[in-house]
Structures are given as structure tokens and as C-alpha cells.
């Protein structure tokens, strides 16, 4: 069998890096959020493959929890974006600089 842990991990890392790139470069809050989901999924992929190649089911349990938490997180995050948009009329990170002193 040629395809092993390394291959899956490589995919996972690439996915993570793409997500990171999205977070850093895209300006739309929603797209940034989607990129975050990508990063989260890459972690899921890594965990599942570890679980598979280490013969332990605990990794899958962890992924299960991650998916659950991610669902909750997406709901809250999106609600925050909506609330923010209502207040600022924008979902553009460059318009949201109130963290500057």
C-alpha cells in the first residue's frame, strides 16, 4: 500500500495552509470565517488519519466533538457577524478597526 499516514497528513497541512492564507489575505469577514472552517477541517483530517494508523478510536471521538463544537461556534460567530454588520453596515475587516487606540 503506497498511500500512508504521510499522504493524509500532507493533505491536511496543505489544507491548513490554504485556510491560513485565506484568513490572512481575504478581507470579507464571511470568507475569513470559511477559511477558518477549512483549518478546522484540516485538523479533523489529521486526527482521523492518526486514529486510523494508530489503531485507536479516541481520535475519531475527538473529531466528533470538534464537529459539534464547530457547529456551535459557527452559529455564534455568524450571529456576531450579523450583529456587527447591523451596527457598522460592513463585513469588511479594513472597516473594522476599533481595536486601534
Amino acid at each position: 500500500m503506497n498511500v500512508g499516514l504521510h499522504h493524509y497528513l500532507f493533505v491536511s497541512f496543505m489544507l491548513f495552509s490554504l485556510g491560513l492564507l485565506g484568513v490572512i489575505l481575504r478581507r470579507n469577514l464571511l470568507v475569513i470565517y470559511m477559511s477558518l472552517e477549512l483549518m478546522l477541517n484540516s485538523a479533523n483530517l489529521a486526527l482521523v488519519s492518526f486514529s486510523r494508523f494508530n489503531n485507536k478510536l479516541d481520535g475519531q471521538v475527538l473529531v466528533f466533538f470538534i464537529i459539534t463544537v464547530a457547529a456551535a461556534e459557527v452559529a455564534v460567530g455568524l450571529a456576531l457577524i450579523v450583529a456587527l454588520y447591523r451596527k457598522r453596515q460592513s463585513a469588511h475587516v479594513e472597516d473594522l478597526t476599533s481595536m486601534k487606540l
Binding site: 470565517y33 485507536k56 450571529a79
Partner: protein
Amino acid sequence: MEQINNLVSGGAAEDVLFYVFAALTLLCAILVVANPFSRSPVTSAMFLVLTIISMSGLFLLLQAFFLAAVQILVYAGAVMVLFLFVIMLLDLKEEQRRKIKLFGLIAGLVSVGIVVSIFVKSLASIKPAAAGPTLEGETYALGKLLYTQYTLPFEIVSVLLLVAMVGVILLSKKKLE
């Protein structure tokens, strides 16, 4: 189930499938982040759905059938619908082509590049268990584990979902008081 199992564990076929799904995943992910044809969030969302679906294919290859199902149900089903709803609710225009700051681009690419290089470097040091994969798709075992050893986290997560629900309702009320 048995048939699929036979099909995918056929060695060469399995490898081919992996490359297909992996390529699909990465391609779609690229299109989520940087689509040369459209900067609309809707396109990004749709490609994200595709990414997730192809990823669940990878899950299948890893014998995680239950998770593959959950992935599609929760992500492709629930989460992405939520995204699309919000996009439509906000009536977002296409992202304007603002001037991309050269410095930001370079900094972003460089930092991501460093991350990638560190990952790749660390890949070399990873050694899988010597025995090789023996675990077969054990949805039953997973459920058992979830309801015995991980009962408490499971319950806590359910509370978390409840809290998230309450929070979302509170946040999305018209007036924040």
C-alpha cells in the same frame, strides 16, 4: 457496506481514490480562498461545500464511515446552509477589488510559506505505528466509546450547544441591551 469495503480496500483502487479525493479537496480549497473568476462569498461557500464533501470521501478511505456521514450532515448540510442564509441576509455585494497591499500579500505568503516548510520538515519525523492499520470501520465501537468512556464530555457538549443556541438568539435580537 461489504461491497464498498471490498472495493476500496483493493489496494491500487484505493490509492487512486485517495489521489482523486485529495486533489479535489485541495483544488476546491484553493477556489474557496482565491477564486480567479469570482470574488463573491457565495462562490466561496459553494466550493467549501465541495471541499467538505470530498473530504468526507477521504474519511471513507480512512474507514471512518460515521464521521464521513456526520461531516456531510453537519457541515455540508447545516453549517453551509447557515453561511448561505447569512450571506443572503446581509445581501453582500461582491467583494470590491480593493488595492491589495503588496506588503500584506508578501507577509502573508512568507508566513504561510514558513508554516508549510515547518510542516513539511516535521512530516519526515513522523513514524506511524509499525503494525499498520488494522482498524476497520467500527461505528458500533465508536458509539460504545462515546456513551461509556466519553459520557461526561458528551453531556457537556450538549449543554454547550444549548448555550450556543441561547447566545445566538440573544445576539441576533434586533436590539442589544
